[in-house]
């Protein structure tokens, strides 16, 4: 479906801007709403779920760029070392984007990828925080949190992925695109 565009540089600025705007909204929703819900076992990571979904739909380049920008924003809004969540989000966006083809073949792929991205991302946050000096949680806790984040992400995927797919098609406007 993207093959006709493969040769030219076609990351549309408005796609990237829309992705970043959506993730920035998720950023606020995460700390002000989701973090206060007190979900058992861990926390839902809204930003990672949306980032993984965007990467699956738009590809590694959009995923990596929007992940990086939102990661820097998240770092600036926090009190930890600048750049650490930018690094994780950038890698997650890129890695998930690599399997965008498979995501169009089966429904199971997005579910598994978004769950996996949340799991790995949460582990990554814990790892990089402890590497940079101030371990926020013990290893066991981190693994538990990561699995909880993965499960919540899987549960949320059916409500997030299809709307994003539709929105992405709308955003692309009149461009002819194949089905999923």
């Amino acid at each position: 479906m993207w093959d006709i565009l493969e040769t030219e540089d076609s990351v549309q600025p408005r796609t990237v801007v829309a992705a970043i705007a959506l993730l920035a909204v998720a950023l606020v929703a995460q700390v002000s709403i989701v973090a206060r819900m007190g979900l058992p076992g861990g926390r839902l990571d809204l930003v990672l779920v949306l980032l993984a979904a965007i990467s699956l739909i738009e590809g590694p380049l959009v995923g990596a760029i929007s992940g990086f920008v939102v990661g820097v924003l998240a770092d600036l809004a926090s009190s930890h070392v600048l750049g650490q969540s930018a690094l994780i989000m950038c890698l997650i966006g890129y890695a998930v984007g690599l399997v965008m083809d498979a995501a169009q073949r089966s429904v199971a792929v997005p579910v598994a990828m978004i769950g996996g991205a949340s799991l790995l991302g949460t582990l990554g946050y814990a790892a990089i925080t402890s590497i940079l000096g101030e371990a926020a949680m013990t290893g066991g806790e981190a693994v538990g949190h990561a699995f909880a984040a993965g499960v919540y992400a899987v549960l949320l995927t059916p409500f997030v992925f299809p709307p994003l797919l539709i929105a992405s098609r709308r955003l692309a406007g009149g461009r002819a695109r194949g089905g999923r």
Partner: protein, 326 residues
């Protein structure tokens, strides 16, 4: 928009290099992006404040709006009335709860003669979930200054770590970098309470190995130039280490991180050290298990020897401070 083209690889490598550069710079210098952080904090803080104000009543009344109405003409109006009334009830409940929390907080502040600025928690932690901080909706314009003590009706919450005009970030007592001078109830024995063990456990280190810390002992803050004395911290649940030059114990904090809502920033110290007044009285009075004779609780002791002893931001200062006291 390729999948894994040369170009996308170039971009990701460039982004990774930038990320590592940022990490290195910020890790080495510490405060490389204070200005940018301040801008983002105040911008996001305003949004978070609005979001919190809007979403809470909605969350409580959402259930009342999903009522199915099949009889459109008349039932529609009745359903609307119903929803409006339910919303009103929910709002009333919210107001009642808020006023109870506020009066509880007021009571604690009066007991300790603290001057407090009440504030609401508008964001918890950060996106990654690795920061033990909360953002509150009071800032520099309300008189909040960095390093002030933050408490709620249950006890100590943390200390202010940064402020913008209308918001402030509070470093919770359970943050790994947090270190707060603590005093054992009924004694003048000094120690420090540190985080890093998750949200419901603090680590207390007593700087006097000869004293036997016991399960059930309670802790209050020690107080210094910025921090107020006498704020209840928690109760010792387990004595972990009895070797070395100090003793450590696990402490269960009184304030629960998960349910933080209304907090107060202590902006001005009381004229006298409130001592143990803020702790809830024990049902059965038991003698203080003091091995060393505990001097009377004079305000002078609480404030005079404290300045070096209590600095949650810089841990070495704590180790150095109470050496003479213990």
């Amino acid at each position: 928009m390729g999948r894994d083209t040369r170009r996308s690889r170039l971009v990701i490598v460039a982004l990774l290099i930038v990320a590592f550069t940022l990490i290195t710079l910020d890790y080495k210098t510490g405060r490389s992006a204070t200005g940018a952080r301040g801008v983002v904090h105040s911008a996001l803080g305003g949004i978070e404040d609005g979001v919190t104000a809007v979403t809470r009543p909605i969350g409580r009344t959402a259930s009342s709006l999903t009522h199915p109405n099949r009889y459109h003409n008349r039932a529609d109006r009745l359903a609307q009335d119903n929803a409006r009334l339910r919303r009103q009830i929910a709002d009333d409940g919210q107001v009642t709860r808020m006023s109870k929390e506020l009066s509880d907080l007021r009571l604690v502040a009066d007991k300790g003669q603290y001057t407090i600025v009440p504030a609401k928690v508008i964001a918890v932690g950060d996106v990654t979930g690795t920061d033990w901080t909360v953002t509150i909706n009071a800032g520099r314009d309300d008189g909040v200054v960095v390093d002030k003590t933050v408490l709620n009706a249950d006890g100590l919450v943390g200390t202010v770590s940064s402020v913008t005009a209308h918001t402030a970030v509070v470093r919770l007592a359970c943050d790994p970098g947090s270190r707060i001078g603590a005093r054992l109830e009924r004694t003048q024995l000094l120690g420090a309470v540190a985080g890093g063990q998750g949200p419901s456990t603090l680590t207390f280190t007593l700087y006097d190995a000869s004293f036997r810390v016991q399960k059930g002992d309670r802790l209050v803050t020690f107080g210094s130039l910025d921090y107020v004395a006498g704020v209840p911290i928690g109760e010792i649940t387990k004595v972990t280490d009895v070797g070395g030059l100090s003793r450590t114990a696990e402490v269960r904090p009184y304030a629960h991180v998960g349910t933080l809502d209304l907090v107060g920033v202590v902006v001005s110290k009381p004229p006298t050290d409130p001592g143990d007044r803020l702790l809830t009285p024990r049902p059965v009075p038991q003698p203080a298990p003091a091995a060393t004779p505990a001097p009377a609780l004079t305000p002078a002791v609480g404030t005079a020897s404290a300045p070096a002893s209590q600095n949650p931001a810089a841990s070495p200062a704590v180790g150095a401070g109470p050496g003479g006291t213990g």
